[in-house]
């Protein structure tokens, strides 16, 4: 049985005001099920990052509704959004975004610091879990390395371990291989596919059609609306998509 993780209803995002306002998103209706691996593509400026920010609860839509894991998060305040990010979302950025001069272990435990949920891990348990995550991404030997001592691919794997530490309902990845050479990029994609096979829901922006082709669905944006949705043959049993071009 699978549940809906993401459901957006007519989401718009308008930057600026009056004459100079830009509609970065112009009515997005998207549904993503638990366990799905979805790629988001589109030309530069089509609204991919803006959509990812809203899906990742880093910003609020100007209008419309966003239901994440059964909870309407469209009108939460900053602190509530932060708590949702902490509990439900794991981020993977193009630029890794690790804390400098901080060990891989401390980077991975960072989200635990802000975990305000009732069942809190002790520091020891948290460290143990972080070590397990680093083991999972193949960095069990580099727990105490700082980012500048790691290659780009290794840094991105630390970021993936960090994204998973709070058991999120989905992982959001904005061009996770964009800064990597093709070999490291391939390793990262293999890792993401491994996570997906273990049940992780992943929404990923990419420019590379080959990478997108390995996901289950590709959502192509154009000028702030969903242009096409391609099913990549990796069929998902309860796939259900609402698609409305504006």
């Amino acid at each position: 049985m699978s549940a809906t993780i993401i459901e957006t209803v007519d989401i718009t995002k308008i930057y600026g005001m009056g004459d100079i306002s830009v509609a970065a998103l112009n009515g997005i209706n998207l549904k993503i099920e638990a366990g799905e691996f979805v790629a988001i593509m589109g030309p530069s400026g089509s609204g991919k990052s803006t959509l990812m920010h809203i899906l990742g609860c880093l910003s609020q839509p100007t209008s419309g509704q966003y239901i994440l894991d059964g909870e309407d998060v469209s009108h939460l305040d900053k602190a509530q959004l932060a708590a949702v990010r902490n509990r439900k979302i794991g981020f993977i950025f193009q630029a890794y975004n690790l804390l400098a001069r901080t060990s891989a272990l401390r980077n991975v435990t960072l989200p635990l610091l802000y975990n305000h949920a009732d069942a809190k891990l002790s520091v020891e348990d948290g460290d143990q879990k972080a070590r397990a995550m680093l083991e999972l991404v193949g960095l069990g030997e580099r727990v105490n390395h700082q980012p500048h001592e790691l290659s780009g691919g290794q840094q991105q794997r630390v970021a993936i371990a960090r994204a998973l530490i709070n058991d999120p309902v989905m992982v959001i990845a904005d061009e996770p291989t964009g800064n990597l050479d093709s070999r490291s990029g391939e390793e990262i994609m293999n890792l993401l596919h491994k996570l997906h096979s273990q049940g992780t829901t992943i929404v990923m922006v990419t420019h590379d059609p080959k990478i997108a082709a390995h996901t289950q669905r590709t959502v192509i944006l154009k000028d702030g609306v969903i242009d096409v949705i391609n099913h990549n043959g990796n069929h998902h049993p309860t796939l259900e998509v609402q698609h409305e071009a504006a």
């Binding site: 880093l58 900053k78 902490n86 975004n97 989200p111 802000y114």
Partner: protein
């Protein structure tokens, strides 16, 4: 975020930038050290005054002559005369001892050594006990010697050292002005009390001073005028009663009214109070100076924290992305500012305490380190850190996560 975590993160951030952290703390260090040193100096001064109270006793009443020009149909009066002292001794109850002083200054010669402008204090037999002076060698003069105007002197400690070095001056003669004087004693070292240097004077029977060093043409009709009469009040007797008695007696003797008095009566306590209020004013001035430097230190912290927030915008964005709330970010930077000021306060306290010790050891001034000043300085440093740390911390808390993540 747990407060303990906030403290750990702040501590790590401070250690990552040791030199800059130290420079940031400099203002606080100087401010706190200044408060402690300055309070120690003024407390030392007060302790010195307190010692004077104990050494002089607070049961002294000073009667001072005030020259009046006289009004129409009134002769000018010269204030106190020598006989007033005896009258007070005999006519006012509760008086233990009365001492008269009359001073002048002369050149003194002993062998080859000449001292210019040495103060000569003519006084009476009660002087050593009333002013708490001890004879080191020889003896003090007697009532008989005052009566007979015997030309004898007791030297202050410094004068004896300068004229005779370590040799005993007893039995030697010195020339005071043109008068040959026999030395019969030397006082022990007393030091400076208030503005009076007891060690650089010589002491003689007051009658000799009247006759040889302050001859007055009025003396024949008015008696010998004196500058000051010291009255020691008996233990357990109310000072005010004695003061009233002296006033009544002198008003009658001088033929004046209470409005035209040609004398003033003050107590040891009055003089000490004036002095204390002076040091209190001095201390509050110092406190202001120190306070201003603390505020400057606080502005330094705010400045660096604002730079730090800007520099670490990306870090803030990362923390926000993984779930830090505005309150978490605020707590982190506020803790850092507080820690800078508290660590600065600690260093400042160490510098202040050692500075006060060194200052006390190297200078004539006494320093007394006050625990309250340490608490005050430390508390204000922390308050300054919290106050000036709040604005940058709030700036950090309000950053937009997307903007912060995009920051290069």
């Amino acid at each position: 975020m747990k407060p303990l975590e906030a403290i750990r993160i702040a501590w790590e951030a401070i250690l990552k930038n040791k030199v800059r952290s130290l420079l940031t703390m400099l203002g606080i260090i100087i401010g706190v050290a200044a408060v402690i040193i300055m309070v120690a100096i003024s407390a030392g001064t007060e302790a010195t005054i307190q010692d004077q109270i104990t050494s002089l006793g607070s049961n002294l009443v000073f009667v001072q002559g005030a020259m009046t020009r006289g009004g129409p149909g009134q002769a000018p009066t010269g204030g106190l005369v020598y006989d007033d002292a005896a009258a007070i001794q005999d006519g006012v109850s509760g008086v233990k001892a009365v001492v008269v002083e009359q001073n002048s200054s002369e050149t003194i010669k002993a062998g080859d050594v000449t001292l210019e402008d040495v103060e000569i204090l003519g006084t009476t037999t009660g002087f050593p006990s009333v002013r708490d002076m001890d004879i080191a060698e020889g003896r003090y003069f007697t009532d008989q010697e005052i009566e007979r105007k015997t030309k004898v002197a007791i030297l202050g400690y410094d004068v004896a050292q300068e004229l005779f070095g370590d040799a005993s001056p007893i039995g030697e003669y010195i020339k005071v002005g043109n008068t040959q004087i026999a030395i019969i004693g030397v006082f022990k070292e007393k030091g400076l009390v208030g503005n009076t240097d007891f060690d650089s004077r010589i002491y003689m029977p007051i009658s000799v001073v009247f006759q040889k060093f302050t001859p007055s043409m009025f003396a024949r009709f008015m008696g010998d005028s004196v500058r000051m009469i010291y009255v020691e009040v008996e233990d357990g007797v109310n000072q005010d009663t004695v003061i009233a008695g002296i006033e009544r007696l002198l008003v009658k003797r001088h033929d004046v009214t209470t409005d035209t008095e040609d004398f003033t009566i003050t107590t040891q306590q009055d003089i000490i109070s004036t002095r204390e209020s002076t040091t209190a004013a001095f201390r509050s001035l110092l406190a202001w100076v120190a306070g201003v430097s603390l505020i400057v230190g606080g502005i330094g912290i705010m400045n660096i924290m604002l730079v730090s927030v800007t520099e670490r915008t990306r870090e803030i964005g990362i923390r926000q992305a993984v779930g830090a709330t505005p309150a978490d970010i605020r707590l982190q930077f506020l803790t850092e500012a507080l820690m800078l000021s508290v660590v600065g306060g600690l260093i400042g306290t160490l510098v202040g305490i050692s500075g006060a010790y060194i200052f006390g050891a190297l200078s004539d001034m006494r320093t007394v380190i006050q625990a309250s000043s340490i608490l005050l300085a430390f508390g204000s440093a922390a308050a300054v850190g919290a106050f000036f740390g709040y604005y940058p911390a709030n700036q950090a808390a309000q950053l937009d996560p997307i903007e912060a993540l995009r920051y290069e």
